[in-house]
Symmetry: C3
Subunit: 207 residues, 3 copies
Amino acid sequence: MDIIYFLDMVGTFAFAVSGSLVAMKSKFDIFGVVIIAFVTAVGGGMLRDVLIDAHPINWIGDLNYIWVILIAVTVTYLFKSKIAPLRKTFVLFDTLGISVFTLLGIQKSLAFGLPPFVALIMGMISAVFGGVVRDVLTRKVPLIFKKEIYASACLSGGVVYLLLRYVSVKPDIQFVLSAVTIIVIRIIAVRKSLELPKINKDVFGKS
Amino acid sequence: MDIIYFLDMVGTFAFAVSGSLVAMKSKFDIFGVVIIAFVTAVGGGMLRDVLIDAHPINWIGDLNYIWVILIAVTVTYLFKSKIAPLRKTFVLFDTLGISVFTLLGIQKSLAFGLPPFVALIMGMISAVFGGVVRDVLTRKVPLIFKKEIYASACLSGGVVYLLLRYVSVKPDIQFVLSAVTIIVIRIIAVRKSLELPKINKDVFGKS
Amino acid sequence: MDIIYFLDMVGTFAFAVSGSLVAMKSKFDIFGVVIIAFVTAVGGGMLRDVLIDAHPINWIGDLNYIWVILIAVTVTYLFKSKIAPLRKTFVLFDTLGISVFTLLGIQKSLAFGLPPFVALIMGMISAVFGGVVRDVLTRKVPLIFKKEIYASACLSGGVVYLLLRYVSVKPDIQFVLSAVTIIVIRIIAVRKSLELPKINKDVFGKS
């Protein structure tokens, strides 16, 4: 349990750094950078909690989220010239983040009595929504819709988690095996630049 | 009651197809297409339920929404070369959708004890919000703000519904007459390319 | 108390006018203008109430918000040629609005038992979120992230408010002093075109 909480904070930190980097690149002022970091890091869990009526929602119930985000912004600011070139290494932390967010989202939703299929969707929302809002606010087409196998990784790991739960493996092993699934798929995808097939085949005119 | 539920699913299907078409045109990957279809179809009802505190919210309380959306995406994918040129015919289904969504939104809000005027706004939110999010996520100015009489149709139908309720016509007739109002206004508007007047008269400089 | 309610309505009016002006400039139709005015004026309080689970949320619990917004849109429409050049004067009303929204947001959050730090964030969300949505819907990079000291003004005023509460000054004086703090900082900032420092120092390539 303590390890999962720790990983949740690592994920929050990683997402906050990713938000800060995007916002700094868009030349936002300090306030804007903090907001984007905040939304990227806790946006997914916040939407999940509002949708499943889990109050107090994530960052209201636990101030550590905010502190971690503020530290992440400070660290990014101080070491930005060193972090920016490390972006590929950084994918590791980010991937750790999404795997933990997905599984925690599923766990919490099941604990609130939602059916497994809905819990799976909630897991994805937890992992994905923060990045979508980050991209909308910085006026990008959300990355995830175009060239990321990101969502598929979450989905696969989530299914593995639900299956392991069903055959009642020990909780810790459920969590670790599913997290590893997500991390492996994502890392392979990034290395090989895998992308999901586009559905469009020029049926429509120019967009 | 059963017929209204059936129409709700028809509307969900139509909205999901419209979302899929826009996302495919924007060259989103499969995941992106499903998300946009999902948000377009259930986004309005989801916001309504969060705002009026109606838990479980629409698609969490009834998994049929998700199945209908997944079927709609599959159908759109398989027959996209046939659906794309049919877009004008498709307006019919879409219009059926918005009329049902508007009226169901009003009904549910009244059932939750909201005053008629608030219920009317909730009806519009139910019908309109999904399309707005679709347009934001695909980086378009929401269509509805610029050249659609869409919202006016919902509003008119909603007012008719509230009036018929007030004079206590039979529930089925209330629903049918109001739905027909919305459908007729919308179809006429599309045919004649009616638009609401723009408020701007070049008082401001170039935008 | 009555004066604070009056100021809340003044703020709502000012925000609705600001939303209307932006939407008219973007050549939205009447419906679009009303929506943008609505979202700008009550969006912040609406998000706050959803996040802290305060139902009925602001405009559902008090229809006066809607009436004030409709009056603001009408007034803006009728006198737009006169309002547009007055934009700088208009900043005064707008500033009155944000100061009241910030402090009311903090008050309400504290009344719901939230810790002061969370209440401070909620105060900022109340003041800021409406304008962010307005900018997203009209396809602008949210102004506040780039060149407004707006948020810093809210934050400073909020901190002053919490400190005065802590030393238990009389409630009216708390409110007035904090509001004055926000107004003064903002007015000075607008006059001197102060901006927060950008974090970016060309570490990244071209954006």
